[in-house]
């Protein structure tokens, strides 16, 4: 891992499972002998608002704060296209890598007809125009395929592992996921993880 700290942002909408995704990543990092600082916002923001988890992975004894400065994200993992674009604009630079789930979660003002949700294809084109590396993952569909839309976040963690940009092995991620969920949900989440991994490697 050449970047110190490696700055990763999980971006999405409250309820999509950001906190669990960042927690699993942080646990896998620590189990791999790395250090990590995670900044989360939850509480009221969790209720349908924009949510972000800042995950900063590093080595050695260094004080690393919980928030990533603007323009300093190395990787943005977006659970929803609009929030991915929004967060990319603030935290991204030309070299930022983006993994995005292309299924929208519509804001209330869009549902009510007071605002227009941008065309998803156009957003993806814009992201590709902004940065060099954008990977699209049909994470919600893959999660359904694994057994539940709730596993969308785990598909995205799988995509992160598949990218192989951290010094964390896929086996380490898998072990952390296996240990995290109740036995009855273990298989579903491992399947989701593997589908996500495969999706970025194709």
């Amino acid at each position: 891992m050449e970047k110190q700290p490696f700055n990763l942002i999980f971006a999405g909408v409250g309820g999509q499972g950001n906190v669990i995704a960042s927690k699993l990543t942080a646990l896998a990092a620590v189990d791999s002998g790395l250090k990590v600082t995670v900044g989360e916002t939850f509480g009221a923001s969790q209720r349908g608002g924009t949510v972000m988890s800042h995950v900063r992975i590093f080595q050695g004894d260094k004080i690393v704060g919980p928030l990533i400065p603007r323009g300093h994200a190395h990787l943005i993992i977006g659970f929803e296209p609009l929030e991915t674009l929004r967060i990319l604009l603030t935290y991204g630079n030309r070299k930022t890598v983006v993994i995005v789930n292309d299924r929208p979660v519509y804001p209330l003002n869009v549902l009510s007809g007071d605002a227009e949700y941008p065309n998803v294809e156009e957003m993806l084109v814009t992201m590709r125009d902004l940065v060099e590396d954008v990977k699209v993952v049909q994470a919600t569909d893959l999660a359904f395929q694994a057994g539940s839309a709730l596993a969308t976040n785990i598909v995205m963690v799988g995509a992160l592992a598949g990218l192989n940009c951290l010094d964390i092995s896929a086996a380490k991620f898998e072990a952390v996921i296996a240990g995290f969920f109740k036995p009855e949900f273990k298989e579903l989440n491992i399947t989701a993880f593997k589908l996500g991994m495969k999706a970025v490697q194709e």
Binding site: V38, T41, G43, G48, P66, G71, D129, L130
Partner: protein, 631 residues
Amino acid sequence: MGIENVKLNLPGREVLLTGNEALARGALEAGVKYASSYPGSPSAEVLDTLAKLSSQFNLYAEWSVNEKVAAEGAAAASFAGMRSITVMKADGFNVAVDFFTSLSLSGVKAGMVVVVSDDPSAHSSIKEEDSRYLSKLAHLPVLEPATIQEAKDMTVQAFTLSEAIGLPVVIRCVTRICHASSVVKLGALNNIEVRPELKQKFLTNPQAHVDVENKLREIAKTGGGCLYAGPENAQTIIVTSGPVYTYCLEALEILQLNGEIGVLKLGRTWPLPEAELYNRLKQAREVIFAEEVEPFIEDNVASFAAFHWSELNPLQLYGKRSGHVAGPLGPGIGELNTDVMIDSLIKIKGLNYQRNLLNQDKVKHLEPLPVRDRAFCAGCPHRASFWAIKSALALDGRNGFVLGDIGCYAMGRGRTGYFLLSSVHSMGSGVGLAHGFGKLGQFSFNQPVTAIVGDSTFYHAVVPALINAKANNSNFLCIVLDNETTAMTGHQPHPGSGRDAAGNPSPAVSMENLARGLGLPVYISDPYDIPATVKLINSLLTNNEPQVLILRRTCALVAAKREKRPKVYVDQEICLGDGCGCNRFCTRVFGCPANIWDKEAGKARIDEAVCVGCGVCVSLCPQGAIKVEEV
């Protein structure tokens, strides 16, 4: 992260902990025996964690009815010789502060720690209060952790300090400590067994004020857990506290000023660590203050410096008072971060620095990007309640209104609650306001008055207001949105839940019996049954006395975990789309995030990834196009 790491008996081991878990671990390392709290973000998980470990560590942990009672219980344990911790958010500290202003005068015996969580930028709060002012007012020392490691270490130190001086000690945490996580080196667990006994009196008297001032003067002379980073002879220093320390370090690194500007981080921010501060001020020419939220350190250090003016160099002070250290909304407003510190340093030092950002013009064709308002979850019973209340008030036609307070339902001020709330202040304050409005009838006031409260809030702060309303013959409808849990902070139990903090069965205090005992008429309805609820509310609005209506339905997040969800779908053969004349009622008006618009078909649809199967929209569709299929 997780309970397994918190209880690990391996001193020296480095594990991942959240800030809240680190605070709990620190308490366990200090041998805490009594823990109490009322749930509030961002610190709710401290007691959640201690409660889960209570039997294993032989400690008592409770969710108290409110923060004042929580603090009093913890003080009792301290009086009896057992270390105690009480945890609250800033709003709750306001509730408890009446007790703390006296408690510092009587003093305490065993170490007593008060964790107060502030929420700069109000991510999960009504306001971004800076609680340090009240700690100072109550004569309580304040420690502020800058990292997750410090959150643990300072908790242990706070117990020692509290015991040494006989005062409760406040640990002031912000959201970026409580909800952050990092690697923490564990210390040894301490499971000392103490036999509690009250052996002395804890009274307040005029002499006590003299004593407490003397104690604080003594503390000011001791080291304050300061850290200093930067050149020893720096003429410009930043004085900071909490996680802002980490933002300062990173901003200086990015601007390549770390060889020039020093950073002094105060661990104890009240009373100020005078010797360490004096030494740094003595060498400085410029001092920059960086802290969240208000200029607390800034004003106190400026005052301290003024008393030493003749011994110091001429000093230029920069901070919120000068306007230099400020986020986008202005000085003293909002959370700080590395970017705010970069911008502040650019202003102060007149630097030329360009960020490596993306070309924002490339998204012009997509703008404006729609904002994302907070919203009730899919299937939330509050949405149904708000719809029913709105409908009933409209039917009544006398311009009735709804007074609110804090909780998930405070979101009812926005689109998700149809902009229904006319007031949002503090726990239960809608009911006190309703009482006031209810007494305006003698001046020809004739609008129907309703107040909504949550079930946990009902026990916390509503009961005295209801007693007042009954005894003074007021006139309003108090509506309890009873979702059978404290939802906003993570589903903690309350006195009506029938289970304690550790999840064991406990006596439930019935809110309807309590209200009936006050002589108030009590009605109960299921908010999912909108037609019946509208009819009931409408009929109650014409009564002229204080009344209680309980709208009872389990929080959708809890229900989704324990029940199979029925499948709800739109029969697009029946849905008339824009030809219906309903103005897309389900998506545009009712506003459940699971009700979406199928652009291609021009019909309504249910988002199966979001829907929890509550079926409320089924009864609202004028065409009956929404169907439920039990699974």
